[in-house]
Amino acid sequence: MAFVAIADRDHEQDLHDPQTFITKYIWSQDHKVIAIQYGVIAISVGLLALILSVMMRLQLAFPETFAFITPNEYIQFVTMHGMIMVIYLLTALFLGGFGNYLIPLMCGARDMVFPYMNMLSVWAYLLSVIILLASFFVPGGPTGAGWTLYPPQTILPGTPGHELGIFLMLLSLAVFIVAFTMGGLNYVTTVLQARCRGMTLMRMPLSVWGIFTATILGLLAFPALLVSAIMMLFDLILGTSFFMPAVLSMGETLNYQGGSPILFQHLFWFFGHPEVYIVALPAFGIVSDLLSVHARKNIFGYRMMVWAIVGIGALSFVVWAHHMYVSGMNPYFGFFFATTTLIIAIPTAIKVYNWVLTLWQANIRMTVPMLFSIGFIFTFTHGGLTGLFLGNVTVDLPLSDTYFVIGHFHMVMGVSPVLVLFGALYHWMPKITGKMFNETLGKIHFWLTFLCTYAIYLPMHYLGIMGLPRRYYAYGNAEFIPASAQSMNVGITMAAIILAIVQLIFIYNVIWTLRKGKPAGSNPWEATTLEWLTPDTPPKHGNWGPKLPEVHRWAYDYSVPGVELDYIPQTEPHHGHDSVDGESEDAADEASDHS
């Protein structure tokens, strides 16, 4: 059957040009405006989480100094920092922000296929953020249960925010999941249905592959969080005993009996581990594109990269219990989950090798996005290697709940995706704003960020091996902790404060770009993908003007031998001698003649 792109079918997608300020910028159904709304909300709430982490670091470096940080508040900061960063910043910014902006533009669509639902998605997301932030202002404050929200302590009186705080947290998560669902259905369906003519799945840029696969993971994994949140709300409000065992709390026997905290852990991590890849896969995809564009070379092993993304996505559902080794489990299960965890290292390693090989003998342009991408390769490799330690049961047991874990997961799913986010923001800022950012400020931002993250997280591995436990308000005079550990903590805090301040450079750079940036032109990086080929920069409503683009080649035709320019846009038809694989040119031409 002849294929008709959705965007060509009038009845499928009626584009109403927004008329008023409100429909244009506030209740907008344009994917680009929604992306920016997602981005602004996510970055704002992320800055709050950054401030919380600075407060935590201040307390750790200078215990008994700050009267305004009590033990309760400290653990509340820990909890909110983690939850905001993982869910409300990284998930929202990668999928809601970049997913929204890039999918229609990179696939050659006019918009998402369900624009109205897309609009609802961002407003539901804002609602979830407001509910989350409201918990700072209710009696008892936000929950201090840790971002994993393990029962029974989550709803026991000893934990701060055990009444309203946890209620608002669970409610906010539920609303977030609804928001994500509305967005996620859009992303997946748009990729499947609304690609322009010629954009086969295997011609899609890896950014789209990463976001697409991550969204599918989200659609299958977020229900686990929803299930655990609903069941915990039942325990909290109605007094059921799904998760709550019989407990004695503050001398009183509570009405709970027989509930299974381990059941919660299984549900939580069945969401929690794919969540790591919900954040990582878009980063993998985007960084592949950044490396290829700024190295002027096709991505090494494109097909392998796609397989690796899909393979990692599938494997991420069968490794969750490696977060639960210390919870106690049948040794065979431990063996199974350790094995699957190590297997997932194979596709991941393939990706790392391919990134490095893309750089091999490339014509590298040391632009700001490139710097962030190379920085990512370092931090991701580092975080990935420490993952091998924690993936093994016997090595994990002594390291569990120490600063080694903090160092590991911040490297692998904190710093690494954030570096990609910055790279991506710098890379697409000229398209989003139409103006070029300040390159020098960008480079200063990169170097200080990169060096500070190492100054923060590398020492944490040593502290962890020393046995320093995580989530402690202060360490007192424990014998196994030498005085040098405290000096190290001071050093880490200094680096953290510098890192936080350095982020102001980025914000200043954005403002500077908007006010004084020079016009960037439509394709400043000389990239091949469709978003750089829009008739207007920034792209207008409907993206493509009267005619949709038509794709003739993959997204990575850089430095093709025998071609004058070192890049060929995806819309350029084949002329015979411009394919990367020189040997099969003639055969290929013949094949296309026959078809």
């Binding site: 369900f114 003519r197 295997m202 799904f242």
Partner: protein, 224 residues
């Protein structure tokens, strides 16, 4: 333990793989790789809303599969032994029949919507919706019945799960009824058959799906 979850995850992975594998063999770096690559098979030739609904159903399946997994794991007698099976209100059988009839009626509405027969369409849609509401009323009645017995002890996970599973299923049906109400209003205002036939088709799919989910849940409740 969680072998169910494991099996479901594996099935999902294999399905995705089976669907994708024919695309994933392409060699896009060549001017022209295999025939599948040059031919425009870029997308599934189905309305976007239909694909969107299937994606949503995949997500809802994940939700119910996880609820059922939690149910089975919490039942495990070696864990706490505090699971006491409760008698299921007999009205559930009637409710099941109501939902089946609702589903049949929606199927009729779908069949009629392809012919041009507004009276029959209205009748079938109305019966489909009304019986879905009756089902919900019946579920509420079952809740009330159970509430008035000695078995109503919140500490019993079997009871908690009964309310949880029926409640979540009812919420999904309510969501469906919202769409049904919109479509039915359109039909009543004599909208063109073309403009509503897709919505009716998707509603019907959703109805059948929720019937299937209910049958699974009902079976699970009866067996335990």
């Amino acid at each position: 333990m969680s072998m169910w979850t494991l099996a479901i995850a594996l099935v999902c992975a294999l399905t995705v793989w089976a669907v994708l594998v024919r695309y994933l063999m392409a060699q896009p770096w060549l001017a022209s790789g295999d025939p599948g690559y040059t031919v425009d098979i870029a997308a599934v030739d189905e309305p976007a809303k239909k694909v969107g609904l299937y994606m949503f159903l995949a997500m809802v399946s994940s939700l119910f599969a996880l609820f059922i997994t939690a149910y089975v794991m919490r039942m495990d007698p070696t864990h706490a032994g505090d699971w006491f099976s409760i008698p299921k209100p007999g009205v559930l059988w009637i409710n099941t029949l109501l939902l089946i009839y609702s589903s049949i009626s929606m199927q009729q509405a779908k069949n009629v919507s392809e012919t041009n027969n507004p009276q029959n369409l209205k009748r079938a849609l109305l019966i489909g919706g009304v019986f879905a509401f009756l089902f919900l009323g019946g579920q509420l009645f079952a809740w009330e019945q159970l509430h008035d017995t000695v078995y109503f002890q919140l500490s019993n996970p079997a009871l908690g799960f009964f309310y949880l599973l029926t409640g979540i299923h009812a919420l999904h049906l309510l969501g469906g009824l919202y769409v049904w109400a919109r479509v039915t209003t359109k039909v009543w205002k004599n909208a063109k058959p073309d403009s509503v036939s897709l919505s009716i088709e998707l509603c019907t799919t959703y109805w059948h799906y929720l019937l299937l989910v209910w049958l699974v849940l009902f079976g699970l409740l009866l067996l335990t």
